[in-house]
Amino acid sequence: MTSPDRDGAPDRRLAIAAFAVMFCAAAAIGFVTGGLRSPSVDQPIAFNHRKHVVENQLGCSTCHQFYETETFSGLPAADVCSTCHSEPQGKSSEEAKLVRLLKEGRPLVWNSLFRQPSHIFYSHRRHVMKAHIRCETCHGSIALTTSPPRSVKRLKMADCIACHEQRNVSVDCTTCHR
């Protein structure tokens, strides 16, 4: 009556139970550390927009130099920061880190938070200079943040289309796709 199959059954149940416990433990650890994790995108410096834009009244084009003339906006190279930060302006540790990086002459490589897939054509100069759409319409309140936001609302196709339909702009697939 006994079969090798049934003999093996308790072992298997044990294995399943052990697996379940380990899975829950892993999930719990993931949950806790996930909650503590700093920005999901690593940046060389935790840049503070509010400090520059609101408190020191810098225009966006000081650091994003190309949205008036190119399809892209651009993220600032180290020499842009050097104009003010070759010596510390304040006492923050993040600034101290920046000054050190600049002294070492290392490039600042920012990760783009709003990056679209490579099959999309998008033009800043067109939307900013010709359609006069404000940065925050598409980028939200990033200019008011004190450190890089943990997650941003990237534009989805439905967002592009909704505005294009409202403003009577082309919604042919090949207008945006390439």
């Binding site: 897939p117 054509f121 100069r125 010709k130 042919d172 697939c173 090949t174 207008t175 796709h177 390439r178």
Partner: protein, 233 residues
């Protein structure tokens, strides 16, 4: 309305294939190895098709005809696509939206000009070429169909530039890579609906004809040849 179209003058074409190479580079089309090439799995958006001419007993001639996508006014591919991944736009460009394509290949079968090709593999380039890919054209993943786009990414750029200069597009602002590269100046491109454009003038001339016109696809690639009008070949 704008209707983008191409004119190819077969009396000037020398079959040098500069257009084929220019297209390959412009549109991030990967090279193919011998094994895949033998199975007909290489991709090219414009190819040279051989046509024999001349009656039996007369001096025979072989003509090589460049064949890009015809951007038909009544495209059979659009009709059969179950995913609306291929669509004809307001200015007559037949677009292929890779993100929507499910790879069923109905369109490759429906196209009477056989200009549509399937990606059997993840595209790969040898190292120095990998770094030279154009950012204006997305690399197609395995499992989707692709074809000549009339380099519509160049239209996106040209229109953006014209708008910044507060003007409309001029004849010549937007040319596909093949047309631009043709050393024999046998290829022309522009708005077929604009009576002042070069293409409209040539398309109305006595040497003009279209491929497989009788199917009613209304291609927007127009060929010129003395032979077709009954003159000397």
């Amino acid at each position: 309305m704008t209707r983008w179209g191409m004119v190819i003058d077969l009396d000037r074409c020398t079959a040098c294939q500069a257009c084929v190479v220019a297209c390959q580079v412009e549109n991030n089309i990967p090279p193919v190895d011998q094994a895949d090439s033998e199975r007909g799995r290489g991709i090219s958006w414009i190819r040279l098709a051989p046509f024999r001419e001349g009656e039996h007993g007369t001096r025979p001639s072989l003509r090589l005809v460049p064949i890009p996508c015809m951007h038909c006014e009544r495209p059979p591919c659009v009709k059969v696509c179950p995913a609306t991944a291929t669509v004809i736009g307001h200015e007559g460009l037949v677009g292929q939206i890779y993100a929507r394509c499910i790879g069923c290949r109905y369109c490759t079968t429906a196209c009477p000009y056989t200009v549509r090709q399937f990606n059997w593999k993840k595209p790969e380039w040898p190292q120095p070429m990998q770094d030279g890919l154009s950012p204006d054209v997305s690399v197609r993943p395995r499992g989707v169909v692709e074809k000549c786009s009339f380099c519509h990414h160049r239209l996106q750029r040209a229109r953006d530039q014209a708008r910044m200069e507060d003007r409309t597009l001029r004849d010549g602002d937007y040319l596909p890579a093949c047309v631009e590269s043709c050393p024999a100046e046998a290829m022309f491109f522009g708005d077929l609906d604009d009576p002042r454009s070069v293409v409209a003038r040539l398309a109305a001339g006595p040497r003009a004809f279209r491929l497989l016109e009788e199917l009613g696809t209304k291609p927007k690639v127009i060929y010129l040849s003395k032979g077709e009008s009954g003159g000397d070949v």
